[in-house]
């Protein structure tokens, strides 16, 4: 039943994480040409949302949009045409906290805005409204393994359903007292645009396989700490290869029992 291996092309990259305000800013650090400075990003004002929605956007929607908008800048493909996969362990635990608190009080006043923003696919919904995308959209969770699992889902959308796809992985730290139960060390998001055909903007082709291997570590202790501090930044070893324009193979965590080996074939640096 295995389909012949058919490459998926990486068209563009986006990132928003401590010290990395954009893919452009991240590349010198990931190439080892500049020192990494872990500074928290100021809150992002999503450019693609109408002003009303922009003001009300949650931290989760803001960070997902920041990486997605960054990736979209690297492609001439219209964002409305892209299928999407949003990958997040917990989406918005700030909202779950507020609702859980409201439910302990009398009367139980759950905010209707909180409730409709509490769905795991809220960021995906806002994105499709913002760019007018009617294409297929999935939102997945796989705990700390959400990036690799989302990447596999996005690759399958490209290979099997013949769609170009935007993958956005994101998570934010929960508030007290949930943060003790679910430590997430920073606000971060990583986005990739994947295409079925090679384009003028293509950076590399990738192929994924399930393996029984431990995840690849990031190059330096600081970046390794970042890799471990958010499910989205588990992508860092892959982003290092892309920044260095270097072909190679990295293993990303895909479950508590195994990894996803991602082989990257980088096109000549342009």
């Amino acid at each position: 039943m295995s389909a012949p291996s058919q490459p998926v092309w990486i068209e563009a990259v986006g990132i928003a994480a401590p010290g990395f305000a954009s893919w452009q800013a991240a590349q010198p650090v990931l190439r080892g040409e500049a020192a990494y400075e872990r500074t928290e990003l100021p809150p992002h004002a999503p450019q693609l949302l109408p002003p009303n929605e922009r003001r009300r956007a949650t931290q989760t929607v803001r960070i997902a949009f920041q990486a997605a908008e960054d990736a979209v800048r690297g492609t001439s493909l219209a964002p409305a045409t892209l299928a999407t996969v949003f990958a997040s362990s917990d989406a918005d635990l700030n909202i779950i906290h507020r609702i859980s608190m409201a439910l302990t009080q009398t009367p139980r006043l759950v905010s209707p805005t909180d409730f409709h923003n509490s769905v795991h696919n809220a960021a995906a919904g806002y994105w499709s409204i913002a760019v007018g995308a009617r294409a297929p959209s999935s939102t997945i969770s796989a705990y700390d393994f959400s990036f690799a699992v989302g990447l596999a889902e996005a690759c399958n959308l490209v290979r099997i359903d013949g769609l170009d796809a935007l993958l956005v992985a994101f998570d934010v730290p929960p508030p007290q007292p949930l943060c003790e139960k679910r430590p997430i060390g920073c606000i971060a998001a990583v986005a990739l645009i994947l295409t079925q055909a090679r384009t003028a903007a293509s950076l590399a082709s990738i192929d994924c396989a399930q393996v029984d291997e431990a995840p690849t570590h990031a190059a330096t202790a600081e970046l390794e700490e970042l890799r471990r501090s958010n499910p989205a930044t588990a992508a860092l070893p892959l982003l290092e290869l892309l920044a260095q324009r270097r072909s190679g193979r990295v293993v990303l965590p895909r479950s508590s029992r195994g990894g996803l080996a991602v082989s990257l074939d980088v096109l000549d640096a342009r």
């Binding site: 409730f115 499709s128 705990y143 889902e153 399958n156 290979r159």
Partner: protein, 392 residues
Amino acid sequence: MTPLPVSAFTVTSALGAGRDAHWHALRSETSGLRKLAFDTNTLDCWLGEVAGFDAPLPAQWAQWDCRNNRLALFGLQQDAFLSAAAALRERYGRDRVGVFIGTSTSGVQHTELAYRARDPHSQRLPDWFQHRYTQNIYSVADFVAQVLDLNGPALAISTACSSSAKVFASARRAIAAGTCDAAVVGGVDSLCLTTLYGFNSLQLVSSDICRPADAARGGISIGEAAGFAVLDPNAAAPIALLGYGETSDAYHMSSPDPDGQGAVASMRAALASANVGAAEVDYINLHGTGTMANDSAEGRAVCTVFGTQTPCSSTKGWTGHTLGAAGIVEAAIAMLCIEHGFMPRSVNTRTKDPGIEAAVLLESRDAPVRTVMSNSFGFGGSNCSLLFGKRA
């Protein structure tokens, strides 16, 4: 797409545990909705509660213990599903079978209980509360993979009320791509105060019983359910997934596009992927939540794609709206319709909304059913239509 055989399926909802319970309830026109006490709920509403499952999980699964995973295990224990999954594991190997589970709230009810038990001074949550194994959206998918001892790709899809329809699409892609050889798909969502008070805050919960497509419908009745299916491309099963369509409304977070354009596109994509014409569809299981907005928009969309003659009904008057489990529950009902040659009526519907022109069934019908479409739509404008059929 090549039809993908469904070699086993099971469903547990307010109608009972397993396929027979569902078939008998549909046949005898018995709704599973009741006015009953749940947790500390004070809202005046009908609920679709599953009976008989709320004992703590066996010791080996203790860390996973929460209402949602209890319901997952209870669901897996029906219709010899555990044996079907074991046979699949033996046939392909544990690394080659994927697990794709839809849920909207996973074990968040456990978090509600933990917040009630938090320390009044420090605000700390109790030691017994483990987020990863209960509340986390992935928990139920990981739990099902552990119980079935499967190590292929595992994920939770959480797109609100379309979650466990979309698992069929995701699993089919993974099988076609060679990521796995076969898959267990399913959906589990359990009653919790978060969804009861949340939908109530949006004025979508009815104090009356759910009456899909009724002129005087007042909203949803919330239910809970667990359902699972095996997708095995090499099985000689009588029923197969013929096609699927997934679209986004790009309209509003919690209201459907009144013209149902996203729903139209999703139904058309399902027909196209199956290479089946609209006239070949014998029955449509509607999303049919019983809200004013959904039933009107979906009715319009169905007429755009099928005209006004294709028999259709929502079964949410029977089971309640089981949210992230609605997709798998209604996929199972679609397959029962094919198996038994039966189309269930829209139970609780008294006077059909004159604004809905689709052929909503007010009486159940015995008739050959070869091809069924099942619609699932969710918040965020997430639409999924599935097409099931008898194999030629």
